[in-house]
Symmetry: C2
Subunit: 230 residues, 2 copies
C-alpha cells in the first residue's frame, strides 16, 4: 500500500463521491489517499483494519475464513463503499479479508484516532445507516433474482467483474462455491466459453478475448454493479 501525496487528486475523489458531506467535521484535511495495487490485501482477517477506508476507485473482493480453515469468496465492492465500518461500529463484529482486484484508491481515516469522534457524529452515523440500508435493499433484490439465471449468464458477469488486465485467475473451487454450482459444471461452462472463443486458456488461467460477447450474455443479470446505486 502506498500513501499518495497528491492533494489535487484527493480533492477530486472527495468531490466525486461527496465524501466530506458524510461527516460533521472537516474531513478533507485529515483523510489520506491510499493506493492499494492490484491483488494486494487491503484488510487481513482476523486482524482488525487500522483505518476506516472509503473506496473511491477500483474493485475489491471480500473473503471469509471458514471454521475449517477454508477460504470462501463472499462479496464484491465497488465505489463508493466503506471498508471497515462494521469493525468500527460493532466491536463484536468478525472481520473479513478484503483484497484489491485491480488498483484501488481509498480515502483513509485512522480508527484509533477518530473512532470516538465518529461514534458521536450523527451525520456520519446517519450516512452509514443509509449506506447499509441501501446495500441491503440491493442484496435482497439481487439475491432472489440471480438464481433465476443460468450459470453461463452469471459466470459471464462474474468474469467481467473479477478479471484484471484481461486475465481471469480466480480459483475454480471458490468460484463454484460462490456461484452455488458444482465444480464440474463450472468447468463445463468455462470450456464452453473457450470453445465459443470468448476466453482463451493460458496455463491454468484464462484470457478474456471477447468481453463484448460475455457482456451480451451477462446483460440481463442485475449484477453487483455498485455497492449502492450511484
Amino acid at each position: 500500500m502506498r500513501i499518495i501525496k497528491n492533494e489535487d487528486l484527493k480533492q477530486r475523489f472527495i468531490a466525486e463521491w461527496s465524501y466530506d458531506r458524510q461527516f460533521s467535521f472537516d474531513i478533507a484535511q485529515v483523510a489520506q489517499l491510499y493506493l492499494f495495487p492490484a491483488k494486494s490485501i487491503i484488510v487481513q482477517a482476523p486482524d482488525r483494519p487500522r483505518d476506516l477506508l472509503y473506496l473511491v476507485k477500483g474493485k475489491t473482493k471480500l473473503y471469509d475464513t471458514l471454521a475449517n480453515g477454508k477460504v470462501a469468496l463472499i462479496d464484491f465492492f465497488t465505489p463508493p463503499c466503506f471498508i471497515g465500518e462494521m469493525e468500527l461500529l460493532d466491536p463484536k463484529s468478525p472481520s473479513f479479508t478484503v483484497q484489491a482486484i485491480e488498483d484501488c484508491w481509498c480515502l483513509a481515516l485512522p480508527m484509533a484516532e477518530y473512532q470516538q469522534k465518529l461514534l458521536q457524529d450523527t451525520t456520519f452515523l446517519r450516512s452509514v445507516c443509509q449506506y447499509l440500508g441501501r446495500k441491503n435493499s440491493r442484496n435482497i433484490r439481487t439475491s432472489s433474482q440471480n438464481q433465476a439465471f443460468t450459470l453461463s449468464q452469471r459466470l459471464a458477469g462474474f468474469i467481467l467483474l473479477t478479471a484484471n488486465d484481461e486475465m481471469y485467475e480466480e480459483k475454480h473451487t471458490q468460484v463454484a462455491q460462490y456461484l452455488g454450482v458444482s465444480y464440474r459444471h463450472l468447468l463445463y461452462v468455462l470450456a464452453d466459453f473457450v470453445k465459443l472463443g470468448y476466453l482463451e486458456k493460458v496455463g491454468h488461467h484464462y484470457r478474456v478475448v471477447q468481453p463484448d460477447s460475455l457482456a451480451r450474455l451477462a446483460r440481463e443479470v442485475d449484477w453487483k454493479t455498485g455497492s449502492t446505486e450511484k
Copy 2:
C-alpha cells in the same frame, strides 16, 4: 391493528430483546404495544409507515411492488427486527409493504413525534448500524449458500416459515419467483410433497401434515431463522 394496554406484557417484551438499551432516553414509557393479527397489513406501500416498529413476536413478510404493478415477495422478518427504520433514516428510501404471517406484536414509536430526536440519538443510530450490518452479513452468507440446495430443501424451509396455523397459502407465482425456480417445477415438487404425505391439498391451499419431515429436509439450509442472530 390493536393497541394492547398490557403494561406487564409490554415490559416483558422490552426486557426480552433489550429494546430500551437501543435508545439514550427512556423509551419504556412512550412506546406502545401493538398487535397485528395474522395476515393483516403492517405497512402498506407506497404509504410511509406512521410508526417506527420493533417486531418482538411473530413473523412477517415483505413485498415489493414492481414497475409493472406486479407484487414480488422479497424477504421475511422475525424478531428482533426494526420495521420502518429505513424510512425514518432515509427520506428518499422507497417503502415496501409488510404483512403479518402470524399474529405479530410490535413496540411502536410515532415517527412524527420522535424522528428528530432519534436522528440525533447516537445510541439509537449505532444500534441501527449494528443491526443493519449484521443483517447484511447474514444476507450475504445465506444468499450464496442457498443456491446450492435443491428446491425440495429450500421449499421445505419456506413452507415452514410461511405457514400459519398449519396452512400454507402462498401464491405459487410469487413463490416461484422468490425461490428463483419455474412455476412448473414448483408445482412438481409440491405435488411430490403431497405424494410423500408431507402436505395435504385443501382446495388451492395445502395443510402441513408432517412438519417434521419438512424440517428434516430443510435442516441443512441456513434459513432465515432470524433477522440477526439472536
